[in-house]
């Protein structure tokens, strides 16, 4: 995990909630309900191994391979599995395609469902009340806050992932990247573009 995040108060005296969590952790380990190695494995997996680079690889592959793109849009779960990504919170994937006429964005208003195998764990803002409340009722205003100013002609489609289907946005490939390698393309694809709050740019 990253130690340099200003929000992480590792060196401050332990807070009440830190104590509460430590106590629970040691209780569960004592009762042999939790294997500390499993705990480390889970945290390491989602902090270091599973993240938006997975999704970016899927997107770049779809941009460079017409057949793959078709498979991805038709039935995303096996197509994503082809690339080696599968598992928890990505059991049933749907990929939605941005076009000049349609822009997609994803939210989970009821909790914070998110496609872990391709995007890792959700950022804090995605789980916050403001995003969850506003994404469905004023998506254009939210997009504008993220710097995404869409033409009124563009239809905005918001996907509220209320069941176990998880959504990945396939952003538009930016103009001028026709000769980029798949790796170069993947490096342009950020997490936010696959949630659908921003568009891929050459910045």
């Amino acid at each position: 995990m990253t130690e340099d995040n200003g929000h992480k108060h590792h060196h401050a005296p332990p807070s009440e909630i830190e104590e509460r969590v430590k106590k629970l952790e040691s209780l569960l380990v004592d009762k042999k309900l939790v294997d500390p190695l499993s705990l480390d494995l889970l945290i390491d997996t989602y902090q270091n191994r599973v993240g938006p680079r997975n999704g970016a690889a899927v997107v770049a592959h779809a941009w460079t391979n017409v057949d793959y793109r078709k498979r991805l849009l038709q039935d995303a779960t096996p197509a994503i599995m082809e690339m080696g990504y599968a598992g928890r919170q990505g059991e049933h994937m749907v990929c939605v395609e941005n076009t000049p006429e349609i822009h997609n964005m994803v939210v989970c208003t009821l909790c914070s469902c998110y496609p872990w195998p391709v995007l890792g764990l959700p950022p804090t803002w995605y789980k916050a009340s403001s995003y969850r409340s506003r994404a469905v009722s004023e998506p254009r205003a939210v997009l504008k806050e993220f710097g995404t100013d869409l033409n009124p002609d563009v239809e905005v489609r918001v996907w509220d992932s209320t069941a176990e289907i998880r959504y990945l946005v396939l952003p538009m490939q930016p103009a001028g990247t026709e000769n980029y390698t798949e790796e170069q393309l993947a490096s342009l694809v950020t997490r936010d573009t696959m949630i659908g709050v921003t568009q891929v740019t050459l910045n």
Binding site: D35, H92, L110, S137, E145, V156
Partner: protein, 216 residues
Amino acid sequence: MNGAHDLGGKHGFGPIDQSQTENFIHQWEETVFGLTLTCGMLGQWNLDQSRFARERTDPVHYLSSTYYEHWLHGLELLLVETGMISSDELSSGIASSKTKLSAANPEIVQTIIYSGAPTQLPERTTNRFSLNQAVKVKSGNPKTHTRVPSYVKGVAGTISKLHGTHIYADEHAMSGNKVPEHLYCVRFEGEDIWGRDAEPNSCVFIDLFEPYLTSI
């Protein structure tokens, strides 16, 4: 449950803090995440039961605490409710009873992470609604777990995709039974949900189980 978690369309939460890009704010949140997942792998509760446990957080606490505080609250509740730990153990932190369960080892964990827990079930009935059919979300206000957001109750939409049959979340959270129900992706036009306050040219797609819907 019509609780504080049901946030779609609510006002008053202000702009989105885009600087919050981290997955975890505090280190204890990582522990809560890991504990929740590994305890969940013991099969004493399912995903819908864990969602319902989080929803039962006091509304003020729900809205004023971070995401992983909801998880912590939910985990503690489930551990006690399933008898995996006693409330005395929870408050003291000292193990006073044995359990027959044994912790998921790293090998099991590794397998579960990458296999997940698919919710699709074999279709035993034919779908009541078909592609492009107009439907309406039923009224309802269950105190138990449900995956109908309040903002779409009573609203008309169109079936845009058939997802097959999946474990019905409402029943799964109540009894743990894996009852198959057809799951549909329904398209709702913005103005059908928000009236004249809708943004132009916008729509919302929501995955809804067959029992939530009625034909119109």
